[in-house]
Structures are given as C-alpha cells and as structure tokens.
C-alpha cells in the first residue's frame, strides 16, 4: 500500500511537469504580435487600419487648422467648445492636445507598417510600392501637422517593439530635423508611387500620389517661408502642385455645392477625404456644427422659411462651433458667390431674417436616413481647389502672376453669374496678392480646417493681424505649449518657448 501512495504522490507531481503543453493555448479570435504582417492581404488590411486611424484625428485637425483662427467666436445655440483656442487663451495650464494629440500612436502603427511591408511577398510589386507610397505620405502628413502645431517634436521613425526603461527620454528634434524627415518621406512616397497616380480602389478616401504631391506643395511653401528654404523651395512646391493638375480624374467641379453633396461622394475634385458611413464606429466632428432640432425649430432661414422639424437632426446633433461675424460677413459679402449658402445655413429669429441667431453647417449636413439626419459626408483633407490656390501662393512668392488660379476658383464660385470684369482678379503687388489669396481661401475652405495654416503660411504677421485675440507680442502663441504630463513622462522635453513653465 505504501508503494501505491508514493506512486500516487509522484504521479500527481510529475504530471504537472509533463503537462506544460496544455498551457500553450492559441488565440482564436485575435491576432498576436508577429502573426500579422504575413502576406499581401494582411498588408492591405493594415493599410485600411491606418486610414481608419488617421480619420480619428479629424476633429483635432479641424481644431488645429481652423478653430484657432478668426473663423469662430460668433453666437450660437449652446455653449461654444474650444473657447481657449478661439480666444487664444493658450497657456500651459490649459495646454490643448495633451499627449501630442495621440499622433504618436498613429505614427507607431505607420512605422510598424513601413518596417514590415518591404519584407512581404506581393504578386505584383506595384501593389507593394503603392502601399509604401501611402504609408510614407501619411507619415509626412503627421509630422508636418505636428511641426506646424508644436514646432520641434521627438522624431521617431522606427516602431517601438520593446521598452528599454533606460532610453525612454527623448528630446524634441529641431524644426529643421523634422522638416528634413518630412521631405525625405515625401520623396520616398513619390518614388514608391512612381507612375501609379490612380486612386486605390478608385476611392479618394485612401492616400494617393496626388495627396503626396499636394502635401509636397504645402510643405515646401512652409519650409520656404518658415525655415529659410526660399525660392528653391517655392519652385519645388510649384512644380509639385502643377503635377497635381496633370493627374487624370482630378479637376474642379463646375458647381461649388456639388463638391460636398452626400450623393456626390468621391467626386473628381477630391484628392483625399476621410470616409464616414452609418455604423462605421466613427463620428464625424461636424455634428458639432449642427444643432438640436428643438433649439432651432422656432427659427427661420435666410429665405424667411420656418425651420420646424425640417432638418431631422438626431439627439446627438449639437451646436458648439459658431462662425464669427467676420467669417460670415466675408463669405456672404456678395450674394452671387454661391459659397456662402453652400457653407452655412444661417438662422434668424424673425421671418425677415434680420435677427441672426446662429448657423449650422450646410457643407457637411449629411443625409436623412429613416427620419434621422446622419452626419456622414466624406470630409476632404485636400481637394483640387486647394492645389490651385496653393499654386497661386507659390506663384506670388516667386513674383509671378497668381490671378489665373484665383480666377479659376472665383469663376467656379460664381457659376453662371461669373463676370470676369466684375469678379475677376487682376494681379497686384505681392502683399495685396497675398491678401487676395488669403481671402479667397477664407471663402473657399470654411469648416475644412485650413484657415489657421493659411494665415501662418502667409507669414506669422498675418496670423496676429487677422485675429482679434492675438496682439503683437503674442507670437509665441502661434506654436502650442505642451502639458506638464507630457514633460512628466519624458523630462527631456523642454516647454515651448514663451510659455514659462
């Protein structure tokens, strides 16, 4: 009997050691690290993920690129959001976009793709090159946005694969170093795209060669203005922007409002847009540019028509961004310019439309599905008219005549009412041209996240001059401070100059 007992005890204990493989369980419903970048199929799935990821920055892009400008601060129906940006109340205490607005999470995933895609076998090398063109272009876009927002930022081009606690501190790279990386990535992107100027799956909601080209134009103007690149950078920008116009299937639509129509997604003017659809797990920020039905039902539109329940806004619709009077005055200064009503629906307290109460977006009004308005327009990040007006900027900077480009835009804006003798622009001095281009862009791109960058590209003096809440001496506010949390996690970071600590 004793032997049996000993046997049992030994068996029990030994069985543990021999059963290690029982504990090796394979996941069924998820993918683990190292199992993902397997083949061309997964690379494409990864590329879709990177685009969904980029879309999640949409609201931040609009806030950074436009809400900081003179475009907001008017009246509306609910308390305004982002008042610190609108009123230029920028301090370390309330530093916006903590954690670098989450951009490094996106960059990490891009870096992961850039590292792994080259090692994957594709049946067609064109497919691989296209994906590489996309990921390099997207990385350049992220760094460009960060450079414009914060100046120098930490430069990371490799995916983080493990954590070494001794090398976690990383200082900001200089603006020049970031700009160099952006330019390298743009070149890498264009080289990878090569002659593939088509849109992926014929959808302009994926990054493309055209997107990299317009980004290149944008970047080189900035580098010319802010980083001493001068004429040669303007020249580089100009040729890149000119190349955008040569891409087949990229042109201005004849009617401004058609560019934004829900039924007209993926039109020829769009170069790169974020896709939105019902139940896609993402929310377009433009619901903040609408209003609750009940708040506006007693109001009238500019035609004197009672609003009632005509918009069918859902309960999440809310009115948080209110166009400034400057924005509306400029946009509606000429009733023949179709862009005003295509951009905003102004609401009044009286049928005579003299008591302005607020405005909701018309550009991104989405569509009504089963009685509920869904804000699911695709939202352009770049469209062709942008390329045209950027081209006008380069020409002006190179002391050339920008009026043909300006007039292309005006002609389309006025539609059949266009009269070149009245509405046409005639080349003037460089600074007057700059003002004209700024104003044209102001009208053309409201709600599209452009105005603040336009002002800064024109020169920081414009950003100060155009904004009632910025005074000379506030130049340091053009670049944002970082939060104490960001420094706390990474003490090598130095606060943006001018903000103290």
């Amino acid at each position: 009997m004793k032997k049996i007992i000993v046997l049992i005890i030994c068996g029990v204990i030994l069985s543990i050691y021999s059963c290690d493989d029982i504990l090796d369980v394979e996941p069924v419903s998820s993918l683990v690290y190292g199992s993902f970048w397997r083949d061309a199929e997964s690379a494409k799935v990864g590329m879709v993920g990177l685009h969904a990821d980029m879309r999640s920055t949409h609201e931040a892009l609009v806030l950074m690129g436009e809400v900081r400008s003179d475009l907001y601060g008017g009246v509306g129906f609910e308390s305004p959001s982002s008042t610190n940006l609108i009123y230029q109340d920028i301090r370390v205490d309330n530093a916006p976009f903590g954690g670098w607005a989450g951009f490094y999470t996106k960059l990490q995933r891009i870096n992961d793709a850039i590292k792994h895609i080259p090692g994957i076998d594709f049946t067609s090398s064109n497919d691989k090159d296209y994906l590489l063109g996309q990921v390099y272009g997207m990385r350049a876009f992220y760094y460009y946005t960060m450079l414009k927002t914060w100046g120098g930022v930490p430069l990371v081009t490799e995916p983080t694969e493990s954590i070494d606690y001794n090398t976690l501190e990383k200082p900001r790279a200089s603006e020049q170093e970031i700009m160099n990386q952006i330019k390298l990535d743009i070149e890498a992107s264009l080289k990878a795209f090569g002659s593939q100027a088509n849109f992926y799956n014929n959808k302009r909601t994926y990054w493309s060669k055209a997107a990299s080209l317009i980004l290149k134009g944008d970047v080189y103007i900035w580098s010319g203005v802010h980083l001493g690149g001068g004429v040669s950078d303007f020249q580089t920008a100009k040729s890149a922007l000119e190349e955008v116009g040569t891409i087949s299937g990229v042109n201005l639509l004849s009617k401004y409002a058609d560019v934004f129509k829900y039924s007209n997604k993926n039109n020829n003017e769009v170069i790169f847009a974020f896709n939105y659809a019902v139940d896609d797990g993402a929310t377009s920020p433009y619901f903040l540019w609408t209003a609750r039905q009940v708040e506006i039902s007693a109001l009238y539109n500019s035609e004197g028509t009672a609003i009632g329940t005509s918009f069918q806004f859902s309960s999440t619709a809310t009115n948080r961004y209110h166009p400034s009077s400057e924005a509306l005055n400029t946009l509606f200064e000429d009733p023949l310019d179709e862009r005003g009503n295509a951009t905003w629906i102004r609401l009044f307290r009286n049928p005579d439309a003299t008591q302005y109460a607020g405005a909701v977006t018309n550009k991104f009004l989405g569509t009504v599905i089963s009685g509920i308005r869904q804000i699911i327009d695709d939202a352009p990040l770049y469209r062709y008219s942008d390329a045209i007006l950027l081209l006008a900027e380069t020409k002006n900077l190179l002391a050339q005549d920008p009026s043909p480009e300006i007039n292309d835009i005006r002609e389309r804006a006025y539609g059949t009412n266009y009269d070149a003798s009245i509405h046409g622009y005639i080349n003037q001095t460089k600074s007057l041209n700059t003002e004209a281009i700024l104003k044209e862009r102001f009208k053309e791109f409201q709600q599209e996240g452009k105005r603040w960058w336009d002002l800064r590209r024109a020169g920081d003096e414009y950003a100060i001059k155009q904004n009632n809440y910025l005074l000379p001496g506030d130049e340091y506010k053009l670049v944002l401070p970082i939060t104490r949390d960001m420094i706390g996690r990474n003490p090598a970071l130095i606060q943006t100059p001018g903000y103290g600590n």
């Binding site: 995933r109 139940d279 009940v294 996690r489």
Partner: protein
Amino acid sequence: MKLTIALTLACMFAAHAGSYSQGSKLNLSIPEASIVQVLKEIESQSGFYFFYNEEELKQQNSVALNVENKSIQQVLDLVLQNTGLTYRMIDRYILISKNEQAGQLPQQPKTVSGKVTDSSSVPLPGVSVVIKGTTTGTITDATGSYSLNHVPGDATLIFSFVGMRMEEVVVGGQPIISVVLEEETIGIEEVVAIGYGSLEKNRMTTSVSKVDVKRLENIPLSNVATALAGAIPGLRVQNTTGQPGATPTIVLRGGTSWQGGGTPLVLIDGIIGSFDAVSSQDIESIEVLKDAASTSIYGARAANGVIMITTKKGRKGDARISYSYTFGINEARKGYDYLNAEDYIRINRLGWQDYVELTGRTNFNTYIVNPAIGWTATGNIDNSIYTTQYLTSENEFLLDQGWKKMEDPLYGKTIAGMNFNNQYIIFQDNKMSELPYKTGNVNEHHLSVTGGGDKATYAAGIGYLKDEGTIHGSSYERLSGNINADYRITDNVKVSSIMNFTSSSRLNTYIGEGTIAQRIMGQPPTSRLYNSDGSINPGLSEGFGNPLYYADKFKQENLDQRLRTSLALEWNILSNLKLGVKGSYYNINSVDEAFNKAFMSGGNLNVTRQASAIYTRNQTFTGNAILDYFVTFKENHSIRAMIGSEYYTRNYFRFGASTKYSPTDLIPTLNVGSEASGVPYSLKNMDRMLSAFGRLNYDYKLKYLVQLNFRYDGSSKLADNKWGFFPGVSAGWNAHKEVFFKNAKLSKYVSSLKPRISYGVNGNVDDLTEFGVYGEYGLSPIYQSEKGYYLTSLPTLGLKWESSTTFDMGVDLGLFSDEVNLTAEYFIRDVKNKISNYDLPYWTGFSNIRTNIGTLRNKGFEVEINANIINHTGDGFKWNIGVIAHTAKNYVVKLPDNGLPNNRQGGTQIYNPKSGQVEWVGGLQEGKRVGLDLVYGHVQETLYNAQEQLDEDANVYDAYHFAENARERFLGNVKWLDVDKNDSIDYRDRVIIGRYTPQWMGGVTTSLSYKGFELYVKTDYAIGHTIHNENRARSLGQVQGSQNIITEVLDAWRPDHTDTDVPRFVFVDAFKDNGVRGINDRTNTRLLEKADYLCIREVTFSYNLPQKIIGKHLNSLKVYTSGTNLFYFTKYSGFAPEAGGTDGGRYPLPVSITFGVNVNF
C-alpha cells in the same frame, strides 16, 4: 493526467458495499492510538455516534486494536477494558462515561423531561443530557425530546452536542426543562474550511474569518455580498448602487492594485464562482481566508484573499422541511432639495445678468431667447418643453389652471442690448426631482428539505426572489435550486454531488444611473409634464427629459443562468489515508437584450428602434485529486498532510448582433429589424491553469501548531514565465493549554490565548487578458466598408507572476470563560513584480505598457471583538455586542528606474509652503504612500465682501478665469488661498485635503434576546476619507445651463446676504467658484466633503413562538421584521457616502422594510 491516475485507482479499489446497524460487524486495525481516535475511527466506519468527556478519555493510555468481524459491543468491551469507563447505547448513540456507581444520592429525585432545539427551533436528536458531577444521563430522541429519571432537585443538567455550545441548567425542581443550544461560533470544536479541507479552529495558525450566516436569514438579499459590509475584519465592502442584484465592490486589506482594487477569489463549494445569483438561504457558511499562509493553497488566484461559500449539506435523520417567506417595501432615499420654479427662474435670470455684466461676454445672450432653456420666457408656447412665458392676455387663463405668476427679475432693465419690457412671467411648478423614483416591492420564498439515512443524506432547496428597485425600470428576479447529496457506496467510499441552478433576470434603470441622479433629477421645475391635449411632453431629450415619457422607452434586460455541478469521490484507502477526486463544471449563460422604442429626442422622433441581443457563455471545468493523511505518533504528535493537483480551463464565447428600424414598438426582438446595425460578431477566448499543491499540519499536544503549504501554478496567460511557486508557513501557540498558564492568576480572566504568526506567497495574473502578453493587433473601426487592423499593444513575453508575500501576526484571546473573544491582527503584504500599467512617454506610441512594475506594500491592522455581556441560560436573556475595525495603508516600495526622482510615475505638482518649492505629490513615488487616491484642491479662503479686499487683490492673476478677465473679480466671488503668495492662483496653489480611501472601516453589531424575542442591529462605518461631490458642484455651478439647482444656492452671496460661504451665483460658474477649476482638478475644498459615516444597515426584530402556541404539527415558527439601510450618521450632503470617490450622481440604496415568517415542519 493526474486526474486519470486518481480515477483509475479509485475504481480499482472500490470495495464491496456494506451497511452497519447495531448488529453490524467491524473490522479495525489500529496500531496505537488514543481512545478518542479509536472512537472517531469507529464513527467514520459505522453509523454510530459517541458522546464523551474528552478530558476523561485523554487521561487514558493509548490502545492498539486489531479486530475482525466483531460487533460494536465486543469492540467497545475490548477498548474500554481496564479504563474504568463504561458505555451505554441508545439506538446509534453511544455514551461513554466513568464507571462510577457511587455519588451522593439526590434528595428529592424527580423525573425531568424536555426538548432540545437549535437556535432556529429545529429539534436536535442525539444531544447528551447528563447530571453534572455524575455519569447519569441520556440522549435526546429523534424529536429532540428527553426524559431523565431520578434527578435530584439541586442537580444541574449539562446539555452537550457536537458543534453546539454546552449548556448547564439548574434543575431547581422544574419538571420540564427545554433548552436551545447555540451553534458554537468560538470554541474548541469549531471546524473551519481552509481550502481543500477543513481544520478545527484550535489547530488554526492562519488568518481566517467566518461570517455569521444566521444573519443572512432574516432579510431578503438580492446579492449576498451586500450583507458582508462591516462584517469581516479586513474586508471593505462598498455598495455602490441601489440596483437590485448588483454585486458590491469588495477589497481585502487595501487591495493589490495601485488603485487599491482587487476582488477576492470567490469559491462556492470549492468551485470558482461569484456572488451573482447566489441565494443566501442555501448558504451553510462563509469563510474569508486573508493571509497568504492560508490563501497560498489557492496559489496564483488568491492574492486578493479567498471567500469560501459552502452550501447546505444533508444531515442524517428524519426529513426536515423549512419554509420562509419575506415581504417588504423599498423606498427611495431622499436626495437633495431642489429650487421651486419661482426661485429657479429668478436665480438663473439674475445669474445670467451677472454673467453678462461681470464678464462682458455676450455668448449666452442666446439663452434668454432660446426656448430650450427652462428659465427663458420667450418661445415657450403650447406644447413646448418648458412652461415659462411672459404673461399676456392670451395666456392669462392659465393662471386659473394652477399656473403661477412672478415678476420678471429683469423687468425694466436693458442688458446686452436686450430690453425687458414684460413685467410678469407665468409658469408651472412641477417636482421633477421625484419623478424618476418609485416604490418597489420585495418578495422572497424559500423551501428546503434535508434529511438522510445511514447511507445517503441530502439537502435540497428552492427559492424565489423578486426585488423591485426604486428607479423606474430597475428590478431583479431570481429563481434558485440547490441539491446536495452524499451517498456511501461502501464503508470507505463515498460520492457527493452538488447541483445548483439559478436563473436571474435583471432590468436596468431606463437610463444611466448617474444621468438620473444628476440630470434627470435636475430637470427644471418649469418643465411641462403634459401637453394641452393631455399627452405627455417628453422634454428635451432622453438625457434631459421627462421620466413620465422616457421610463418605458428603453429596455435593458439581462438574463443570467448559472449551472454549477460537481461530482466527488472520497475513498478512505486506510483509516487515516483518504483520496478525493472531484470534477466540477460551472456554466454561465447570459443574454443581454436591449430595445429602444421610438422616442422623441431633441424635438425629433427617433424611429431607429435599435434592438440588440448578446449571448455570452462562460464555461469552466475544474478537476482535482487530493490525498489526505493523518497520523498521531507518540500520542502527542499529530500530523495531517494533504497533497493534490488541479486542472482548470475556461472557455468564453460571445455572440452579438443588433438591428435597427423595427417597424413597431411592440416587438423588441431582432427578428423584425429591417437592417443590421453594425456587424454581428462572435468571439472566443480561453485560458488554462495547471497546479499542484500540498499542506502539512503538525501539532504537539495541541499546544504548538505549525502549518506548511505550497502551490505550484502554471497559467496560459503568461508566455516565457508560465510557472510560479507559492509557499506558505505559519505557526501558533495555544498558550492556555500550558500548565503554567492554567496555574497563573491571569487564567481567571484570560480563558484562552493563542498568538500566531504566518508568512506566505501568492501569485496574481488577474490583470492580464488571455493573450495580452503576446501583443495584439486590434480591429480598427470600419473604413470605406472594410475593417482594418493595427498594433494595439506590445508583446511582453517576459512578464512574470506578480507575487504577494504576506507577513501576518495575530492573536486570539478569550476572556471570562470565552464570553469575550478578541482577535487582532497586523499584516504587511508586499506585492512584488506588480503587473500594472507603466506610463510611457507618448513618443513611444503607447501611453502605457503592462509590466512587472515594482513593489506595492499594504500595511494594516484588524480587530474583532465579540462580547456576551449578558448570557443567562434559563430565560435566554442575552446581550451580545460585536465590534470590527480595520485599517490598511498602501505604500510604494519600488518602481522601475526611469530617471525621475523617486522613479515617480504620474502625480501632480503643488507648492509646498514648508519647503518653499513646487513638489510632485500623488501618483506613485518610491518610498511614499500610494498617491492615486490623494485628494487636492483649491482652498476657498473667504468670499470677497468689501471693495478693499478686491483692490488688494487687483493684481492677482487667476489661471482658471477667461484670459481677458484673469485679473477681474467681484464681490461675492471666492477669494482663493494663494499658497505660494505669488499673486497667481494656479495649479501650484492646490492643497492636499485628504484621501478617497478611508482610514478606518468596520461595523458594530448587537443583539438582545429574551424568551424567544430577539432584537438585532447591524451597522457599518468608514471614517477618515473624502468625497468629491461633483453632483453638488455641477448643480451649484449651473454648468449645463438649464438644470435645476439644489437649494443651497438660496444661501449664495448677495449684496444683502453676505454672511455665507456659498459664492455668488453667476451663470455657468463663469468664475469657476464652484469647483470646475482646471480640466482635471475640478475641485474646490468646499466641495470636497468629509465622507465619514455610520449606517444603520439592519435592524431586525424576531420572535420564536413557544411550542405551546404553535402546537404539535410545527417544530418551530418564527416571525420577524427588518429595516435595512435605515439611516446614515454622516455630514456628507449627497446620497451615498459608502460609495466614496467622485460622486457624479448615484442610485442610492433603498430604505427597505420587510416582514417575514419561517416555519419548520
């Protein structure tokens, strides 16, 4: 693997079946053992029960026995020869006593008879009744009755029964003496479950607390764990919601996470389970294992302690049927008082005027004409949301219909270019804050049967409970069934099976609990409840709407079905060697259904009619094999050994789908949805564990006790370091058994003294997801109709077991013949290689990573005192008081080196006036207390009451004001404490106020009983912590623009009311005076409230009807009435102080009054 071995062996040795009766034959082979052990061995082999005075038997020499095929009488004759002992048999009960014929003969011998019952009036058969000082006695029969002849008039009867407290009653000439034996809660024979076995309490060396389950019987409990509040030293039980059925937050000894969390492992009959859907009436005992020496037998899963629930098992004897019914009413607890409509309109309109005039901002002008604001008097017409209107000749008639009238406080003014020409405002005054609440009923039925014979015993129970909550929508319904049966196949093989099934259905509040307690209660009193046609006006939207309209629009139901079943085989290989093999299966099927009817939202009819159904299945299987051995050698050395192994596997499956655009409100299921909403999905997950464990108990003369145990665990959740070894060691000393102790004078007062000490290790991987260590690619949202993947977490293959080592020192002290019992304990728990999130610099692309981060230390102290202040046996007059107090503090011992001072993680910077520096506080800092529960805020020094004060501070910059008004302030604004005196009110000026974690917690209970009546009062308390009352801050600040405000605002500063600390009311808290100061620091010390409380959790009054009233057909009848959550002694102004933390609006626990009856047949 090991399971197979054990099963095979068990089958090979399965012996012939046999049964014992008085004529049965015994086979015994005992080398050398004490008589007590021999008797126990006979008990274990036969149906006989022995009764004896252990002290008498202990004086005897040990015996050796080797008999075959002998009758019980023959065996006993053999065993008791030359011992001076004799025996007497009554049915299966054998009384062993001294063979003395001598003794003083009684003066007036009489016959005494009576009945012995337990505390729930159940008759106790087999109780030994002996005349004190003699061996004359008898044993009660099956009905608990006895009769004893020739009892002297001055004699004392001793009633004793295993597991019951011995009772002595002076006869005093009474012919009938009936006694109630109390279960022995503290005493030498008490047996405590310790994990894979049990142990007599006097052999225990570790920290285990037992719940007084008798206290669970009288009140209906939709969740048993709610009754643990304040009942166990070291266990913090927070009821965070009044939703019936919800499990409270339970944390043992400060918790093993940095945040102070960590749920104890809950085992039901040894199977991993939870408190959900456990019927309190099926519970036999609840034990809490606290120190690592006791929990290390559960190894890796038990770092947060173990709560062991044992369900009722069968007892031999005639079937006993018991039925109880409880009925009660739940009333909502009253919350804040809100303004009436007139005050509401006046205060808001003047607050808006202040806003415009003081800030110079016009951005809220629109509010004065926006009909979506409750205090606006324009735009509100027939059927609008709010009733506020200027009085006109057209609407004057409304005043006859109960509308009220007031003068517009803005009348005659011109503000921001707007003229206020209308003198009067009319409005309805509705008590919106009461609308979300209802009165709910609670009903519980429970029927149980136990019984059994020599070979089989059983216990079966069936119960039903329905508990209606106090907020619309919420309710809980539970049906439970439990069958436990044991069957003795042969004399040394027994099978036991457990079958437990519960089905519970929970309906949630119609909209989020926080939303109800904050936004819905805060609906403007000027809201229109009904339109002119009598239909209900919905209000603004579901989150800001009329409960009369919305209460039935959203349905959320959870159906939860649990099956717990196990089959165990127990084989006594030898008289002192036992093999147990057990397989358990636990399956939870859970279905969550939700449906939105068509509803008005923001003025638009939402007809999405979203319907969703989610099915979840969680299956666990546990198989184990355990070998038990005990031996006594040289009489005084006793050893018990156990070794075992276990396999655990869990498979999780989830399936869900949603539809939209159902054509009708009438069908809530997906079958009528016209299209999918989102993508249907299913997913699977699994994890496994493999373990070996063992335990060794040794004692010498029951004086010196030592326990060693270990567990070796492997988990599939880890990659490179799957295995962990978790040992425990403990020792104790029963000092009162020492001769010198007995001789000491002190022993007059100190009846027992047991110091003990323990050290052990636990593991933990609770914080890991199944495959998280491998790094995961997660799904992106849908983009252009496709789903993408991206890296969401880094692989951390080197991650290892988090291990907690606990050092525990305790003492069990009995005073005055154990009428007063005290247990005190001090512990230090070091959680090493803590698995938690390590904050990374953002450039890494990850805001944190799971890692073995450092060492957390819990230090604490616990004390429990139980005192019988009055303990009369005759009339049953008893008064008992129990006090529990415990405390635990958490420290950061070690963190990974990150180059920062103290390797700090997180935290915030505050100026320290002592050092004159801005210093990091809170977060995690090596060598300091864990600072994640630290509460800090700006100090309201006073209110500005004079222009001179304002002038003095004219240069003070306030970082929380609008930039253009940063140096502007007005009378009635808060004067903030400028801690660093630098004329700038900013983050540096915050002051540490306290902590969210209480310093002391516990409970006080008392019971008073007399002749069948009992009054029982239970309280729990927590002191020394702070609550951030966000609900109050948001209301006083009117941050939502149109909400009703708590009446505290009536005390706000006004030029004619300056003796107050409530700042001037300015619309949307424009000067951030009510606390929204900074994005993450919404705190003004005035709104950080002391949360100290003592709650009268339960008061029960019960009465056991005497036998002469209930007659012969009933064994007992008890009636009782209880009140629960009756009253809080607290200064906290909100609803629920026990939930702690940040109070953004909560579903309060109801005040319940219940009545019940319990009948035993």
